[in-house]
Amino acid sequence: MTEPVLSVRNLQVEFASRRGTLRAIDGVSFDIAKGEVLGVVGESGAGKSVTGLSVIGLIDPPGRIAGGEIHLAGLRIDNLPPEEMRRVRGKRIGMIFQDPLTSLNPLYRIGDQIVETIRTHLDLSEQAARRRAIDLLAEVGIPAPEKRIDGYPHEFSGGMRQRVVIALAICAEPELIIADEPTTALDVSVQAQIISLIKRLGRDHGTAVMLVTHDMGVIAETSDRVAVMYAGRIAEIGPVQDVVKNPLHPYAKGLMGAIPTLAGDDKRLVQIPGSMPRLSAIPRGCSFNPRCAFAFDRCRVERPEPLPRGAQSVACHLYDSVPAESAA
Amino acid sequence: MSDAVVQHKVEQRGPREARPSWLKRALDSDLFYSFRRSRITMIAAAVTLLFFLVAIFASWLAVQNPFDPAQLQLMNSRIAPLWTADGQSPFLLGTDEQGRDVFSAILYGLRISLVVGILGVLFSGALGILLGLTAGYFGGAVDGLIMRVADVQLSFPAILIALLINGIAKSALGNKLDEMSMLGVLVLAIGLSFWVQYARTVRGSVMVEKNKDYVAAAQLIGLPAPVIMLRHVLPNTMGPILVIATINLALAIITEATLSFLGSGMPETMPSLGTLIRIGNNYLFAGEWWIVAFPGFALAALILSINLLGDWLRDALNPKLR
């Protein structure tokens, strides 16, 4: 197997606060291969966005990467000096944020912003960069790009602006795109277009995509594999059909049960009781145990580690064939 | 920037739980917590308190009444501070041209400055709250008129307005005013210069409350809406008003001092800190620095302390801004 584009190993992210250190990400590991789309799903606060931000090196103080390693095509990037990391951002990793309305500087023409980014990373003349910018705008589906390039962000609709943001993210041919809730702020009718655009771009350029969202429907439609996050950990990760059709982790089961299907009207939508714990009050053992219908003694004292289960991997004691001695 | 609406933080408290004493609650509050955490605020509060006490007890602390010409002796004029070679007891900070003890003059001047400042703030606050309530409650043309005046006035510096009002009052009442009416004119000038911020804050709050259901409900059961609204609007705006008032106290004192320094404020027979600085400024070149330096220092320390308190209050009542 070839080397994955992105390899995250045992990532830990901490935030220092007045009430002590909070661990937002606790031992997350995953890979993304070339051309693959990994969906990262979970409730808000599960650590999806923080994972994306740590990969691109934009965790702001008081947050910091406290442990683990991040490799981009073999290069370790979690401990790069700021200036070298800056060169990686935009050039080798592109990022798309949630809100296209606020992602663009309102005072600059979109062309200026694209040309600025291109020329930061590629050795191109002003004219060449501008031609490339027009091509990019055409590629992301902006009509009449040679005219629209001189428009200001407020002259574009939300969906068009997100296309501009995507053009900005791919303008230096990155190996990896991190899309953080790219459709949440958009109209439902536009969401599908943006999703298929991201998918197409990933396929055409062989780019790896990390798609962060809370929308399981989007993931089912787009992703090759999916990682389900809960309270700063990956509960389950695996090929998207497997996880959707046959979720293993009780939380993933609940999550899949929460997707309405057209055919499956025979079952009621399942609801997971309770809510995700706050970072300051993560329970001992498995963080899901207070909400879990299958929890047993071990879940309350010992944290489950990921276990391979076919193509899937699940962090749940239910699947541990050799129960360890009770710690108590 | 300065007229940003400051959100008031309402302390949450369970219904009908045993209420601790007033003092205990005050000591438990977030406000007191942030106060204890900021050493500079505590120092500022102590200095402000000291100034108030000194002003209140000026007649006990002073060695002479600087407003009483009979107590001033020309042979004592222009004595240097006590610790210098030419110092003479009991003139701790030296004397001025007329033999006035600088220390005593500062105490009495401080009293004048604080009285004018506080009265000015009270007057402008009352005026502003009243106009704000009127504008917010009636809306329409009344609101338009009041707020237009406010807009225009806000674009002119308060000192210019105060100077103009001062000049008009002088010409209306005759050029020579006695000390007490001058004090009144200053309060009037300051009050009329600083009402806008209060009016805007109160008006905004009234506008919000006006459309709430309880007002309609109150009207439905025959309660007078203005009374009901007042009881909701005033507590809601108390925090912001307190912040504005504190910062405006510093501004009012500066304005009074400036007017007096320009010769349009308190006369030399009843000097405020600003008047003292104006008098002292004339002797700067003769090397008699103490006549201006100490009143100047007192004024600066007073304003700085009040400003620090105001800044802290603003931050403490509005955690969002920090």
Binding site: G90, L107 | I277, L284, F285, A300
Partner: protein, 326 residues
């Protein structure tokens, strides 16, 4: 865009009319102008003659019309103190005030923006803390105290700079300038700093707050995610977005600078309009007070108008919403 400008211009004229009414009422009702002009032993007949000649017996509305008509031609009557046309007195002193105000504004803008940017970007350095302390002192120290302090330091103690006046001035037409002689420039230093210090702290605080606000926005985060250099993010994106509100405030503040010059001019005996105004207030010279009020209001209103138009040029969002609205 044109309609917007026109609407603002009409508003400006409205303000000027309001100020005109105030100035006229001062002139007409605050004390009897005749009493101000004559000595105690002037006979009743002479007083009546003067009343007649001033048109004080005409209906108020006629007098107001005449006042506004004259004011529009910059005729503000005769000063009680100097027995000279107020317009001449003001025009003679205007260059001094404008030069001072412009120098003070430049000083305030340059230092304020530099200090603000620095203290926003290097938030926890000792220099940033020092700037914060300076800003607090700048806001707390009354202008006249700063002036006195500077005079004591640089004139009395060190003897480097003159403590009063404009130094040698050069006449260029009716304009007089102190910018072309060494003594004129030296005389400008302390008054400019005194006058500009308050604005400087204001601009610094504003730049710092705005910059911190902008640095938190999504488009700065996205600019970082695009891998732009720190320099491009700070100065290309953050500073430019910060400067939009700063230009507005600084522009609007120019009017206040002219008004605040009253204090600075008194401290430094600077022969400008402010000093004239202070003397007028002390001597109840209503024509000068009224004329000064009108002049300063005119400057204010003009600046407001210019800033509004400038704003639409700097901020493209405003430009198009404004033109789209009509």
């Amino acid at each position: 865009m044109l309609a917007f400008t026109l609407r603002r211009a009409i508003q400006a004229i409205g303000v000027m009319i309001a100020v005109g009414i105030i100035a006229f009422s001062m002139f007409r009702f605050a004390g009897d102008p005749v009493n101000q002009m004559v000595s105690l032993d002037t006979s009743g007949a002479e007083r009546a003659a003067i009343r007649q000649s001033l048109g004080l017996d005409d209906p108020v509305i006629v007098q107001f019309g005449r006042y506004v008509g004259n004011a529009a031609q910059f005729k503000f009557g005769i000063s009680y103190q100097f027995r000279l046309p107020v317009t001449d007195l003001l025009m003679e002193r205007m260059p001094a005030t404008l030069e001072l105000a412009i120098c003070a504004t430049i000083f305030a803008m340059v230092c304020g923006i530099l200090m603000g940017v620095y203290s926003a970007l290097r938030r926890d350095t000792w220099l940033a803390h020092a700037f914060q302390a300076i800003s607090l002192i700048g806001i707390s120290l009354p202008t006249f105290l700063i002036g006195i302090l500077l005079i004591y330091l640089f004139s009395v103690t060190l003897g480097w700079l003159p403590s009063f006046g404009r130094g040698e001035v050069v006449h260029i037409g009716w304009w007089t300038t102190g910018l072309l002689t060494l003594s004129g420039l030296k005389a400008l230093i302390m008054p400019s700093i005194t006058l500009g210090l308050f604005q400087m702290t204001l601009i610094m605080r504003l730049v710092r707050a705005e910059m911190l606000e902008v640095m938190r926005t999504d488009y700065i985060r996205f600019a970082r995610a695009r891998g732009l250099t720190t320099r491009a993010i700070h100065f290309g994106h953050a500073l430019r977005n910060t400067l939009v509100p700063v230009i507005t405030v600084a522009g609007l503040q120019f009017g206040s600078v002219i008004a605040f010059a009253i204090i600075t001019e008194t401290v430094f005996q600077w022969p400008g309009m402010g000093l004239l105004f202070v003397q007028a207030v002390q001597n109840v010279d209503i024509p000068i007070m009224a004329a000064y009020l009108m002049m300063v209001s005119l400057i204010f209103v003009t600046i407001n108008l210019v800033v509004d138009i400038l704003y639409t040029i700097v901020d493209p969002r405003l430009r198009s919403t404004v033109s789209r609205a009509h």
